[in-house]
């Protein structure tokens, strides 16, 4: 698929139609079109407003606790014996993941637009928790759609959302995971267009969400750039991040897209294995199509029916990927690897034992490819991994997985 000419300025994307090359766009029912267009206009105005930017920057500092540290993982580096490994510590943010960066931005926008009700979809519950958190802080009602399967496997986050005053609505259609939660959130939005703001949690959905969520997450890469220059006096050789919808990955990558020497690696969830059909690797195991408002790589059958994803990680258990990643893959700017459930569990334990950090299962997928990436980059090289979240929410799922294997 890498036949397209390589662009030399990635900041030109998306174009006015919300396209990253052939991907993205606004494939939504007509009822939502005026809202999506209005959202784009409001976001453009907010982005250009110094007061908006100042308020967001202040919230990121004083509420979320940014900047997050860039930590040199010495024992992990020694373990693999290749390039130096740095962890971008997004798990130390308030609420325990990168999701808060996006939520703080979008809630400011929602208030600017005069919206009085917030809805969200969530997989792992991290985005749901971050949304419930910002809603509590500004006093807006919050409804979170969550697949019934995920309600079960991410129970601690359901409790947190309830404590924060959000209503969690379990979704039982389909496989009762993230895709189905997103369908239900879109249906709520169509039904409550006049007062409701849909706070999407990843760099996916109709334009302007993929660009907007990327922009709000780009703080990860901005900080990383300054921090790695400070620590090493040069740019890293490679960046690694897990990819569900793709927000933590694009947030890390964005500021480095035009630095051709920085290799970019996204890691998809290959579940029980790419060849089993039970995985969530949209790029490695899917093909382009249209779902949830955008054109991108999707898991689907020959007819174009969307197939169910599988991953032990609820946050990666989605049959699509953000459209900018689809584009970066096609033009060859980023490389999309994958990690299985078992590999993620192993990496989860490894980080706990070697560095005293319990990562989210999502982030563990990125860690699982470090052996290969640090070997390829080699000794003397520098690799930054996005530690997108912490693993407290996953303890039950990991214990169960290990018990089953034992």
């Amino acid at each position: 698929m890498n036949a397209l000419p390589t662009p030399n300025d990635y900041s030109a994307y998306p174009d006015r139609a919300g396209r990253f090359g052939d991907y993205g766009g606004r494939y939504v029912p007509e009822t939502l079109m005026p809202l999506v267009l209005q959202l784009e206009e409001s976001y453009e105005a907010a982005k250009a407003d110094p007061a908006f930017r100042a308020e967001l920057a202040s919230d990121l500092t004083h509420y979320a606790g940014r900047p997050s540290p860039l930590y040199f993982a010495q024992r992990l580096t020694e373990h693999f014996g290749g390039a130096k490994i740095y962890l971008k510590r997004e798990e130390l943010n308030h609420t325990g993941s990168h999701k808060i960066n996006n939520c703080l931005g979008q809630i400011l926008l929602a208030r600017r637009m005069g919206k009085t009700r917030i809805i969200a979809e969530t997989g792992a519950g991290q985005h749901g928790v971050a949304t419930a958190t910002v809603c509590a802080r500004v006093g807006l009602p919050c409804v979170v759609y969550m697949g019934a399967v995920d309600v079960e496997r991410q129970a601690p986050n359901v409790l947190r959302m309830n404590l924060l005053g959000a209503e969690v609505r379990p979704v039982t259609s389909g496989a009762a995971t993230l895709k189905d939660a997103m369908n239900e959130a879109l249906r709520d939005w169509v039904t409550n267009v006049h007062d409701t703001y849909y706070l999407i949690g990843s760099a996916a959905g109709p334009h302007p969400y993929p660009a907007m969520v990327r922009d709000f997450q780009a703080v990860i890469g901005e900080e990383t750039r300054a921090q790695v220059l400070d620590a090493e006096g040069r740019l890293p050789d490679a960046l690694v991040a897990c990819v569900g919808g793709g927000s933590n990955a694009i947030g890390l990558f964005h500021n480095f897209l035009n630095d051709a020497n920085v290799r970019l690696y996204g890691v998809e969830a290959s579940g029980r294995g790419l060849d089993t059909g039970e995985h969530a690797a949209a790029i490695n195991g899917g093909r382009p199509g249209v779902l949830h408002g955008n054109k991108t790589y999707l898991l689907q059958d020959r007819e174009g029916q969307i197939t169910e994803a599988h991953s032990i990680s609820a946050g990666l258990d989605y049959p699509g990927i953000g459209p900018e990643h689809a584009f970066l893959h096609d033009v060859g700017r980023a490389t999309y690897l994958s990690a299985t459930d078992d590999e993620a569990i192993e990496a989860f334990q490894l980080l706990a034992r070697l560095e005293g950090i319990i990562p989210a299962l999502e982030s563990a997928h990125a860690l699982a490819r470090l052996a290969d990436v640090t070997r390829d980059v080699g000794k003397g090289g520098i690799v930054v991994v996005n530690l997108s979240g912490r693993g407290d929410k996953d303890l039950a799922a990991v214990a169960e997985h290990l018990a089953r294997r034992a």
């Binding site: 249906r187 039904t191 949830h292 999707l298 007819e303 174009g304 969307i306």
Partner: protein, 278 residues
């Protein structure tokens, strides 16, 4: 006569009769291929002036529970987009006058190939196409493909469409405009029969085409009220619910659907129209 022509002929005939069209929506392949074809074939005699035939998609984001479940039943029974076209072909063997409009989601069409789909749809006797998740901004490739065949691209207007938006919607459309009478998914909210007349006027003026009203019409009373002001009245979820109820009660689903269709058609036919212009 086919495509937009068959739609025009039907609306012209109804205008001469001075009444609105009754449009019945069912899902191809629900509960199975043969039963759906049996229902489809009998709908014109039951009073359907036009038929909307859904093609099932795994993730129908604008449908409420009745049509979601209908799509799931059809998929479980093995319906495919090829199968939908085959259903239309078999319907056309015996009925060359009742317009058929396919309704569904973009991903299946992209997978099939837009140009190939437009050609095959025209060949089997499809007259129009509604793609729920393909707004005008994304529709040019599809409109280009359909233009070569005469199959009408039918657009949706909604309570959120202001006049500027209506102008965008009216471009590159033919046959009729489908006015979604409630902001919401299918089969949940009820139509506001008092307010819909003004909306229909606005849409009709902007598009210069007949206006069909759907989403939220379940009862003969609602159908009659909408028939007074619109050019066509679309009922879907209430028919599809009869399939679900028939299956649950182990009764003949075909007769249940047709009985409901008959009552709705009678209600539509019972009212003359003062204001039909298009």
């Amino acid at each position: 006569m086919a495509g937009a022509g068959r739609l025009q002929a039907r609306f012209a005939a109804l205008k001469a009769e001075g009444r609105a069209a009754f449009v019945a929506y069912i899902m191809a392949g629900d509960p199975d291929t043969e039963t759906a074809l049996e229902i489809l074939s009998a709908l014109p005699a039951a009073g359907a002036d036009l038929i909307e035939l859904g093609f099932p998609f795994s993730d129908p984001m604008a449908e409420g529970p009745p049509i979601q479940r209908s799509a799931q039943r059809a998929l479980a029974a093995g319906m495919t987009l090829n199968g939908v076209l085959e259903t239309v072909r078999r319907f056309r063997e015996r009925d060359q006058t009742t317009p058929i409009v396919l309704m569904g989601y973009m991903n299946l069409l992209l997978t099939y190939g837009l140009v190939a789909f437009a050609a095959d749809a025209a060949e089997v006797g499809v007259d129009g196409l509604i793609v729920v998740d393909c707004p005008p901004e994304e529709a040019d490739p599809l409109a280009d493909a359909l233009d070569r065949t005469g199959v009408a691209l039918i657009r949706l207007a909604t309570p959120t469409s202001d006049d500027a938006r209506l102008a965008v919607i009216a471009r590159r459309t033919a046959g009729f405009i489908y006015y979604v009478s409630v902001a919401g998914v299918t089969g949940v909210k009820a139509v506001d029969t008092a307010g819909v007349g003004l909306a229909v006027e606005r849409v009709r003026k902007a598009a210069g085409l007949p206006v069909a009203v759907g989403f939220g019409i379940r009862t003969p009373e609602q159908a009659a009220a909408v028939a007074r002001v619109a050019d066509a009245v679309v009922v879907g979820s209430a028919l599809v619910d009869e399939i679900a109820a028939g299956l649950a009660a182990n009764e003949n689903v075909t007769s249940r659907v047709l009985e409901t269709a008959r009552r709705l058609a009678q209600a539509v036919r019972s009212v003359g129209q003062a204001t039909v212009q298009a």
